[in-house]
């Protein structure tokens, strides 16, 4: 049989209002509507979510792990981006 497989979708779930959608896994569905319904049936059987995003896996572009050094390490030495880099006199409040 050479039948085509249903497309693969990545599923993102917001577990409660105020939080980000988080990647939880994938599933197969013929269309977006079905993907959302399947995501509900597969990934929220125990009240895990209040909102669902699905995106066809082929549309996800990922950074290359080989670029990790070039991508992320330069942030290492920019400690001035973090508030603890600065000393503030004890008497100054609310900063």
């Amino acid at each position: 049989m050479t039948q085509k497989e249903w497309p693969l979708w990545e599923v993102f779930i917001r577990s409660k209002q105020g939080l980000d959608h988080k990647h939880v896994g994938s599933l197969h569905a013929a269309d977006a509507e079905m993907a959302i319904q399947n995501a509900r049936d597969v990934y929220t059987r125990r009240l895990e979510g209040v909102s669902i995003w699905v995106v066809e896996s082929k549309h996800v572009h990922a950074s290359n792990p080989d670029d990790a050094a070039a991508f992320y390490e330069p942030a290492n030495d920019k400690i001035y981006r973090h508030p603890t880099f600065y000393t503030v006199p004890d008497s100054i409040k609310h900063m």
């Binding site: 497989e5 693969l8 896994g25 994938s26 269309d31 079905m34 597969v42 059987r45």
Partner: protein, 317 residues
């Protein structure tokens, strides 16, 4: 070029040793990828085939409450299969290919599901014993080296915890019930005890891949270690229920602080692995039938999605 490959492998092992998770796009040795695909898909197939023996009792559950619990449990197994297929797909396997391998008999699944469920007590025994054994295998895998696999296992283990409890509760109700019920429970234990011990796989001496798998941290205890742990855990529970474990050689060993127990019938083990267990044929056939009977449904959904896409395209143009 060769040295580069060697370096990559060394770096890979260093990361594993430091308990850094491997993620889908990271470099990994081919053998690691292949072994993982095999292991994860086997596990997924076990969940899928494992729906059948318990599914056999959904329509005959003895109370509405038990019916709901059993259906929810078997549904969870479908969910677990799905999480695991999805983890294997991050390694480049497709679900269709994995299923084709299951259907052709090339891929294996847990042999335990090749035994028949003959009474309601089997629902208790599967939850209590079989899921108990599965949990011992699975909990360490929540820390396995491959990220998507570990995350799927965290989800599985979280959901699995109710499965064993409901099984024990069924057994306890039977053991505290009428003599026929207690008899039913004992009979189920007699039939499932040895096949459950086989779930941990061959003896360490006959399990050549264990060493490499442990080095890669996709297996965290040996088969014999887990089997011993299981027996030590289960014997007191059987005693609590007032059931007799069907092993005349079972004896507490004070020196090793564990039980000595009889040897598994390895001939039976290999027979079932090779496809000659009591239900191998019908389990596999049930899966193949479901897949083939569903082909037109899957095709129709795709065809409809395609038509909609085209109509949307025409409308936009």
């Amino acid at each position: 070029m060769e040295t580069l490959e060697v370096n990559l492998e060394e770096q890979f092992q260093t990361r594993i040793d430091a308990d850094v998770r491997i993620e889908p796009k990271d470099w990994m040795p081919d053998a690691y990828r292949k072994t993982l695909i095999r292991q994860i898909s086997q596990h997924a197939h076990s969940e899928l085939v494992g729906m059948l023996p318990e599914g056999n009792w959904i329509t005959r559950a003895p109370s509405l409450k038990r019916k709901a619990i059993l259906l929810a449990k078997v549904q969870d197994e479908a969910g677990h299969g799905l999480y695991l297929y999805s983890a294997a797909e991050t390694l480049g396997a497709t679900r269709d290919q994995m299923l084709a391998d299951l259907h052709s008999g090339k891929a294996k699944y847990s042999s335990i599901f090749n035994y028949p469920t003959l009474s309601w007590a089997d629902m208790g025994t599967i939850g209590w014993l079989v899921d108990g054994a599965a949990i011992l295998n699975q909990v360490p895998l929540c820390r396995t080296s491959y990220g998507p696999y570990a995350r799927a296992m965290v989800r599985v283990c979280k959901e699995e915890s109710f499965h064993q409890r409901q099984g024990f509760e069924i057994m306890q109700t039977l053991c505290e019930g009428a003599p026929e019920q207690k008899q039913m429970a004992q009979d189920a234990l007699n039939r499932w005890w040895w096949p459950t011990l086989m779930m941990f796989g061959p003896k360490d001496a006959d399990s050549p891949n264990t060493e490499q798998s442990m080095k890669w941290r996709i297996k965290r205890f040996t088969n014999d270690e887990l089997r011993q742990k299981f027996v030590d855990m289960m014997v007191p529970q059987a005693e609590f229920l007032g059931l007799t474990v069907p092993d005349p050689e079972l004896k507490w060993n004070e020196a090793k602080q564990g039980y000595d127990f009889g040897d598994v019938n390895w001939q039976e083990f290999w027979d079932v692995v090779k496809g000659n267990g009591p239900c191998n044929h019908e389990r596999l056939q049930a899966r193949v039938d479901a897949w083939e009977d569903g082909a037109w449904v899957r095709e129709a959904a795709l065809a409809h999605a395609e038509k909609r896409k085209q109509r949307a395209g025409t409308a936009a143009a």
